[in-house]
C-alpha cells in the first residue's frame, strides 16, 4: 500500500503542471489548503463550520496575503498517508499539516518545505498506571503509531538502537489512535509531542496519562508546496515569515494600524509603507499588513490555538524567538 501510494505521488507529480500556482489561485478566487483530519489546536472546524487552528492560520495568512481576505480558503483534510499524493496531484495548493521536513520528502517526493512553523520532537504517552518513567523501559509494549509518518520510522530506530522489542499497532488517524490508547488496546501512543499534548487534553482524566521525558527525534513541522514553482513557494514562505517577523518587531493585530506611523524602518517596510516588497512577490504591497491585521503575528496565533491558556497548554520552549532563548528565526524583511 505504501509503495503504491508513493508511486501515485511520483506519477501524479510527473503529470501535473507545476508552474503558475499563484495565477491559478488568483483566478480561482480562493486557496486550497490541506490540513489534518482534526488535531486539537492545529486544525478543526468550530461550531459555525469555520476552520481554526495553528496550522489553519498559516493557510489563512497565505489567503490574506493574496486576496486581502483570510476567509478565502478551502480546506481539505488529509491523513498521514494521503497528504502527499493529494499535494502532488494538485488537489491542494499547499499543505499545512504538522508535516516533518525530511530529506526524502523534500527531494525524493518532489516537495519544497518553505519554513518551519513549529519545532517539535517525537515523544511517548502512556497510562501513568504503567509505572514506567523512561521509554527504554517499554520492552514488549504495544505501540499505537500513525502510518505514513516519520514517527513510524523513528520508533523502529529507537527500539532497535536500545535493543528492546515492541509490537506496532498501525493506525490511520489521530482520533483512532486516541481511542485505541484510551481503550487500552495499546500501551503507548507515540507521535509528535505537540500531538501528544493534544491527545492528553482530550482524556476524561488527563492525570491518568503521562508524557515520558524522552524526545527521540527532531520534527521540524512546516508548510510545503510542490517542487518547481518557486514563485509560489516564495509567497507561502514570506507569508509565514511575516508572522514571525511581526512578532520580532512587536507588531500585532491590535497595533498594526498605529504601527504604520512607526519610526522603525523595518516596520514600515513590513507594512508596505515603504519599499515595494509585495510587488516583488506579485502581491499587493500591504500583503503583510493584511496577514497581521486578519490572522495576527506568530505569538498571537500560538497563544490563541495551542499556548498556555488553551487546553493544550504548550509552552513556547524551542518555538520562542531566537531573542528569547528559542530557535524561531526569520530572515530579514528587506
Amino acid at each position: 500500500m505504501k509503495k503504491l501510494l508513493s508511486i501515485f505521488a511520483v506519477l501524479a507529480f510527473a503529470f501535473s503542471a507545476n508552474a503558475g500556482t499563484l495565477d491559478d489561485v488568483k483566478n480561482r478566487g480562493f486557496l486550497k489548503c490541506g490540513v489534518t483530519t482534526g488535531l486539537i489546536g492545529f486544525a478543526a472546524p468550530d461550531d459555525a463550520g469555520n476552520w481554526a487552528g495553528f496550522d489553519v492560520d498559516v493557510c489563512r495568512a497565505v489567503a490574506a496575503a493574496i486576496f486581502g481576505d483570510s476567509s478565502k480558503v478551502e480546506f481539505t483534510t488529509t491523513t498521514g498517508k494521503s497528504r502527499f499524493p493529494t499535494l502532488a496531484s494538485g488537489e491542494i495548493d499547499m499543505l499545512a499539516r504538522n508535516t516533518t521536513w525530511t530529506l526524502s520528502r523534500d527531494v525524493n517526493l518532489g516537495f519544497e518545505f518553505v519554513g518551519v512553523n513549529y519545532y517539535d520532537g517525537q515523544g511517548f504517552m502512556i497510562p501513568s498506571a504503567l509505572g514506567v518513567d523512561d521509554a527504554t523501559g517499554l520492552d514488549g509494549a504495544t505501540v499505537c503509531i500513525q502510518t505514513g509518518t516519520t514517527t513510524e520510522l523513528n520508533l523502529a530506530d529507537f527500539f532497535r538502537a536500545n535493543g528492546i522489542g515492541y509490537e506496532a499497532l498501525p493506525i490511520e488517524t489521530n482520533d483512532e489512535a486516541r481511542e485505541n490508547l484510551f481503550a487500552g488496546r495499546c500501551d503507548v501512543y507515540t507521535t509528535d509531542a505537540s500531538g501528544l499534548s493534544a491527545t492528553r487534553a482530550q482524556a476524561d482524566d488527563p492525570d491518568k496519562w503521562v508524557v515520558l521525558p524522552n524526545i527521540i527525534s527532531k520534527e521540524p513541522l512546516g508548510p510545503l508546496v510542490r517542487h518547481g514553482d518557486h514563485q509560489w513557494g516564495d509567497v507561502v514562505r514570506w507569508s509565514l515569515n511575516t508572522m514571525i517577523i511581526a512578532e520580532e518587531l512587536g507588531v500585532s493585530s491590535s497595533n498594526v494600524d498605529e504601527s504604520k506611523g512607526s519610526n522603525i524602518p523595518e516596520v514600515l517596510r513590513l507594512l508596505g509603507v515603504e519599499g515595494g516588497y509585495g510587488e516583488m512577490l506579485e502581491l499587493s504591497n500591504d500583503f503583510a499588513y493584511n496577514i497581521i491585521k486578519q490572522v495576527g503575528n506568530y505569538s498571537e496565533s500560538f497563544d490563541r490555538n495551542i499556548g498556555p491558556d488553551t487546553p493544550l497548554g504548550i509552552g513556547r520552549n524551542l518555538n520562542a524567538l531566537w531573542t528569547d532563548g528559542g530557535i524561531l528565526y526569520a530572515p530579514p524583511f528587506r
Binding site: 500500500m1 503504491l4 501510494l5 501515485f8 506519477l11 501524479a12 503529470f15 501535473s16 490541506g34 489534518t36 483530519t37 482534526g38 488535531l39 486539537i40 489546536g41 486544525a43 478543526a44 472546524p45 468550530d46 461550531d47 463550520g49 481554526a52 478551502e74 481539505t76 483534510t77 488529509t78 491523513t79 498517508k81 494521503s82 499524493p85 493529494t86 502532488a88 496531484s89 494538485g90 488537489e91 490511520e172 488517524t173 489521530n174 482520533d175 486516541r178 481511542e179 484510551f182 487534553a201 482530550q202 482524556a203 476524561d204 482524566d205 488553551t310 487546553p311 493544550l312
Partner: protein, 380 residues
C-alpha cells in the same frame, strides 16, 4: 381418514403452545441452551439499565445539572462535576446537529437539501409500497430522481451553485450510499450478463473489469479516483472531487453486485432459458421477462448485504478529504470546545448508521417474504 369423527380432538399440551411453549422450545430446550439464555438475560439486565441511564436519565441535553445552557464542554455535567453521577452530554450533537446533517452547506440554501431528503422518500415510496396509487407515475419520478437531486443539491438552472466541498455529514454519506447503490445496481446486472455472454470480447472485458476491481481495496480505488483520474481526463475538464469519489464507489459496488447477480443467474436451471428461447423471445426479452426476475429474486439477501457493506464503507472517504457523518464527528472532537466527548459522538454516529442499515435489512426481509424467495424455484 374416513373415521376421523371417531377421534376426540384434543388440544396440544399447554407446555408446547403459547408463550410458555415457545420459551420452552426456543430458550430452554436443554441445559446448555438454558444456561446461555440465563447468561444473556443477566448481561442484558446489567447493560440495558446502565445504557439507558447513561444515554437518557442522567444525560445532559440542552442544559447541565445546574440548569445552565451548555455552550462548550466545560458546561457538561460530567466534565464540570466529575465526582457526580452524570451521563452523556448530548449538547455536542445538538449544537453541531446542522453540521452532522449538512456539513458546511450554506444555511440560507439548506431547504434544498431538506427538499431532496423529502423527494428521496417520495422516490422510494413505489419501491417500498407495492399497492400505492399511481405507482406507474411515481416510478417515473424515481428514475428521474437522481437528476432532480443533483440539480437541487448542486445548483444550476437558476439555483445558486453550492460546491461539493461545502457538503458534509449525513448528506455526503447519503449521496455516496444512495447514488452508489442506485447506479451500481443496473451496472452490476449488465456486467453479470456480460460475463456470461457468448461473445468472447464482451465476456472477457466484463471478467477483467470485475476481477480487477475486486482485486484492489476500496481505499486504493478512492485514491485512484481522487489523485489519478484527473490526470487521464482531457485538459480543462475538471471533475468535481465528490463526483470522482462517486465514480470509484460505484465501480467498486458494481463489480460486487455483478458477482452477486451472477450467482443468482447461475441458479436458474437451463430449462428456463430453453423454454424462453423456444417461445421465440429475444436475448433481452428472455432476460428481462424470465431470467432476471428470478435471478434477482434469489439474490435479494446478498444484494442487500453488499449494499449495507457499501453504505458503511463510505466512511473511508475521510482518507481522501471528504467529511462524511463520521468525519464531521471527528472534526467536532478535534475542536477544543468539545474535545473528549468521543463516546457521545461515536454512539450518535453508530445510531444513525444503524437506523439506515437496519431499515435496509428489514426491507430485504419484507421483499423476501413478498416474493417468497425461500421457496425452491423448481417447485414454484
Amino acid at each position: 381418514m374416513e373415521n376421523n369423527s371417531n377421534f376426540e380432538i384434543r388440544k396440544p399440551p399447554v407446555a408446547t403452545t403459547g408463550i410458555l411453549g415457545w420459551c420452552r422450545q426456543h430458550l430452554f430446550s436443554n441445559w446448555v441452551n438454558s444456561f446461555i439464555t440465563l447468561l444473556v438475560i443477566y448481561f442484558l439486565y446489567q447493560l440495558i439499565p446502565w445504557f439507558l441511564d447513561w444515554s437518557v436519565f442522567s444525560a445532559d441535553f440542552w442544559t447541565n445539572y445546574k440548569g445552565e445552557l451548555i455552550v462548550d464542554r466545560t458546561f457538561c455535567s460530567r466534565v464540570a462535576d466529575p465526582e457526580g453521577d452524570h451521563g452523556a452530554c448530548w449538547a455536542i450533537i445538538i449544537v453541531r446537529f446542522y453540521q452532522f446533517m449538512y456539513g458546511f452547506y450554506p444555511s440560507e440554501q439548506v431547504w434544498r437539501v431538506n427538499l431532496t431528503y423529502f423527494l428521496l422518500v417520495v422516490a422510494l415510496l413505489p419501491l417500498l409500497i407495492e399497492k400505492i396509487p399511481g405507482r406507474k407515475h411515481l416510478i417515473k419520478f424515481t428514475i428521474a430522481f437522481p437528476i432532480v437531486a443533483f440539480i437541487l443539491l448542486y445548483g444550476g438552472f437558476g439555483f445558486q451553485i453550492i460546491p461539493t466541498n461545502k457538503w458534509g455529514g449525513l448528506l455526503v454519506t447519503l449521496v455516496l450510499g444512495v447514488f452508489g447503490i442506485a447506479i451500481a445496481f443496473p451496472l452490476g446486472i449488465l456486467l453479470a450478463l456480460g460475463r456470461r455472454s457468448q461473445l468472447p470480447v464482451i465476456s472477457m472485458f466484463c471478467t477483467l473489469f470485475i476481477e480487477f476491481i475486486r482485486g484492489v481495496p476500496l481505499i486504493t480505488l478512492l485514491f485512484f479516483g481522487m489523485v489519478m483520474l484527473p490526470l487521464f481526463l482531457p485538459e480543462g475538464l475538471n471533475l468535481d472531487g465528490l463526483v470522482r469519489v462517486l465514480v470509484a464507489v460505484t465501480l467498486f459496488q458494481a463489480a460486487y453486485m455483478a458477482e452477486v447477480i451472477r450467482g443468482g443467474l447461475q441458479a436458474i436451471p437451463r430449462g428456463q432459458y430453453e423454454a424462453a428461447q423456444s417461445v421465440g423471445l429475444s436475448y433481452w426479452q428472455m432476460n428481462r421477462k424470465i431470467i432476471l426476475p428470478q435471478a434477482i429474486r434469489i439474490s435479494i439477501p446478498s444484494i442487500v448485504n453488499t449494499s449495507i457493506g457499501l453504505f458503511k464503507d463510505t466512511t473511508l472517504v475521510i482518507i481522501i478529504g471528504l467529511l462524511d457523518l463520521l468525519g464531521i464527528g471527528r472534526g467536532a472532537l478535534a475542536d477544543a470546545t468539545w474535545m473528549g466527548l468521543s463516546n457521545e459522538v461515536y454512539v450518535f454516529v453508530a445510531l444513525v448508521f444503524f437506523i439506515f442499515t437496519f431499515s435496509m435489512s428489514r426491507y430485504s426481509l419484507y421483499l423476501e417474504k413478498k416474493l417468497k424467495t425461500g421457496i425452491n424455484m423448481g417447485a414454484d
